[in-house]
Amino acid sequence: MKKFEKYLFFLLLTLTIPIFGQISEYSVKAAYLYNFAKFVEWPEGTFETDVSPILIGVVGEDPFGEALDQAVEGKIIAGRALRIKRFGTFDGTQVAQLRQCQILFIAYSEKGSFPEILKALKGTSVLTVSEIEGFPLVGGIVFFDLDGDRVTLGINLHAARKANLTVNSKLLAVSKIYKSE
């Protein structure tokens, strides 16, 4: 009986290690999503009022789970609260709502449709964030990369300017700068 318990314990342990690793990476990314709001300025007229919340959208399969909600819970940035909105897989119907976001995370599941999403967001001031390879090269703004275990940042400054976003130089200092057409 005891032997079984021991076995079960080790089984659970070996199962949870990768799961914890997974959660750990996304909780960092969730915190980063929230922190971007501190280092980015949106153009005038983006918000309806002085206290309108900052809207963080997630399109595609949500990898964060509770982590993102925990990251923004109770946080106030420059007098604004933060809201999370999950859109599910992109199917062309959410365009109007996506354009309402201030920060939009494009999940890995949208690997095929993300250029379409970016196209749909043209002319808006949405800070697009994704971990899809080549994201910053085709007009995406912030790219999550990995350096071993460490999450690193890449920024397409050109795309950020096109979206009328002011990126704090301190954020640029810790990011890899990409250039696109």
Binding site: N35, K75, A173
Partner: protein
């Protein structure tokens, strides 16, 4: 400083000392104030400057902490190379663990975990902890450590500057004081010099001090001038009195002398030996009185500058002959030998004969009076470019002090005047000779006799000058 020594200092030094001390003291106080001000405000200034660095570094590293970028954070801290006084720096993450660090020296030691926010001086360094905020979130904290070398070196610089300023201002104030003190001491010195002259009986009472200003010294000078004026009046009154009294006395004394002569010659009948002896005494006293009155008159004339001389050609031999006319009796009486030398010289002088004769007789009188045995010699000769009649005795002689005052006024009308009439004669003779551009000089040694020289211009020289 020895206070009594200070009291004995000349006024010049006193003024300089006071000026220099007060200037230096004032300056030192000022320097001290600056020094203390710096001493007490500098640490705070230092802390403010360090706080500024903490603020800037903390703010700049907020993104690096937020997005976990150690490399950027370390590069950021590396900018501290520009500040030679910051020894160590350390960034801690939100949990308080070391995130990135920087140290001037390889062996770095800093708190392993973040401390609470504070600034303190410890172990000779200034240490500061500050939280780093990003928005409302504390993303980490920063630690900076600065040496106090700058403070020490600054204080050293201040000390050097203070000493330098002190030294320079000491020199300048010394210079200024030594220049300015003259305005005070010079007029005072003038007064003191003049007072000494007058008290010595040498000052010209008709002269007045220059009054330099209306300060206390100026007032002293004015008062002194007034005082000298009074002295002058008194001196003039004295001369007038002598003159008047002498004139009044001269005739009666001459008459008394005449009557004595008459009686001695038997014009009033035969005299007993006792009567004759008394009359003889009276005759001597009368003669002496007459001469004294004559001398007093001469002195008052000299003092008032009303003596005139009549210069013409005179033979030195004649002068001597006239002078020694009636000394046979007294020389014989004292058993003295009179020796004449250089009588064969046909020396022609240009002088007032009466006054030269009187001067020579005066010298002869003195010589006889001072000599009890031995020789008195009169020699005619030439001294330099002047004619000379020398009177040399083997008498008591004089010491230096007496020699120095021989021809002065003090001797004439001062305390010593009561000692027979001898002093008056020398004073008068000297003046008479000076009026003729001649002189009287003397050499003497106590106990060995004296040698007086009458110096008289030569006729030859006079003719040369006239031609």
């Amino acid at each position: 400083m020895d206070w009594f020594h200070f009291m004995d200092m000349p006024l010049r030094k006193k003024i300089m000392t006071i000026t220099v001390i007060s200037t230096s003291a004032a300056l030192l106080m000022a320097c001290l104030c600056f020094f203390l001000y710096e001493r007490f405000t500098y640490p705070e200034t230092r802390l403010n400057s360090l706080s500024a660095w903490v603020q800037i570094l903390g703010d700049n590293s907020s993104a690096a902490l937020t997005f976990n970028d150690k490399k950027t954070a370390e590069e950021m801290l590396k900018t501290l190379d520009a500040n030679s006084h910051i020894l160590r720096a350390c960034l801690y993450d939100a949990k308080g663990n070391v995130f990135a660090w920087y140290a001037k020296e390889k062996t770095a030691s800093f708190p392993a975990v973040a401390g609470k926010e504070e600034a303190m001086y410890a172990g000779g360094t200034l240490q500061i902890f500050r939280n780093i905020l990003s928005g409302q979130d504390r993303v980490g904290s920063i630690y900076l450590e600065q040496d106090t070398e700058e403070m020490t070196s600054r204080l050293e610089t201040y000390t050097v500057i203070t000493v330098l300023i002190g030294f320079l201002s000491f020199l300048v104030s010394l210079l200024v004081a030594s220049r300015l003190q003259r305005y005070v001491t010079q007029p005072l010195q003038n007064i003191v010099d003049r007072m000494k002259d007058i008290s010595r009986g040498e000052g010209d009472l008709t002269k007045r001090l220059e009054v330099s200003g209306n300060d206390e010294i100026g007032q002293v000078a004015e008062a002194f001038n007034a005082f000298v004026g009074k002295l002058q009046t008194v001196a003039e009154m004295k001369l007038d009195l002598i003159s008047v009294v002498s004139h009044q006395l001269k005739t009666p004394v001459a008459e008394i002398n005449g009557f004595i002569e008459n009686m001695m010659e038997g014009l009033a009948g035969d005299l007993s030996p006792k009567q004759k002896q008394y009359l003889d005494e009276m005759r001597l006293i009368g003669k002496e009185n007459y001469r004294l009155i004559g001398d007093l008159l001469s002195v008052s004339k000299i003092e008032r500058g009303v003596v005139t001389v009549v210069l013409k050609s005179v033979s030195a031999k004649d002068v001597v002959t006239l002078a020694i006319r009636d000394y046979d009796h007294i020389l014989q009486e004292k058993g003295l030998i009179l020796r004449l030398e250089g009588m064969e010289n046909n020396l022609q002088l240009y002088a007032d004969r009466e006054k030269v004769v009187e001067a020579l007789r005066n010298l002869l009188n003195n010589a006889i009076k001072c000599t009890d045995k031995g020789t008195i010699s009169i020699r005619i000769g030439i001294d330099g470019n002047q004619g000379m009649i020398e009177v040399k005795d083997t008498g008591i002689g004089m010491d230096e002090t007496t020699l120095g005052r021989l021809f002065t006024q003090n001797r004439v009308l001062g305390k010593e005047a009561h000692r027979s009439g001898a002093g008056l004669g020398l004073y008068i003779s000297k003046h008479f000779m000076n009026l003729q551009k001649g002189d009287i000089t003397v050499t003497s040694k106590k106990g060995e006799g004296s040698c007086f020289k009458l110096l008289i211009p030569l006729l030859k020289a006079q003719e040369g000058a006239a031609a």
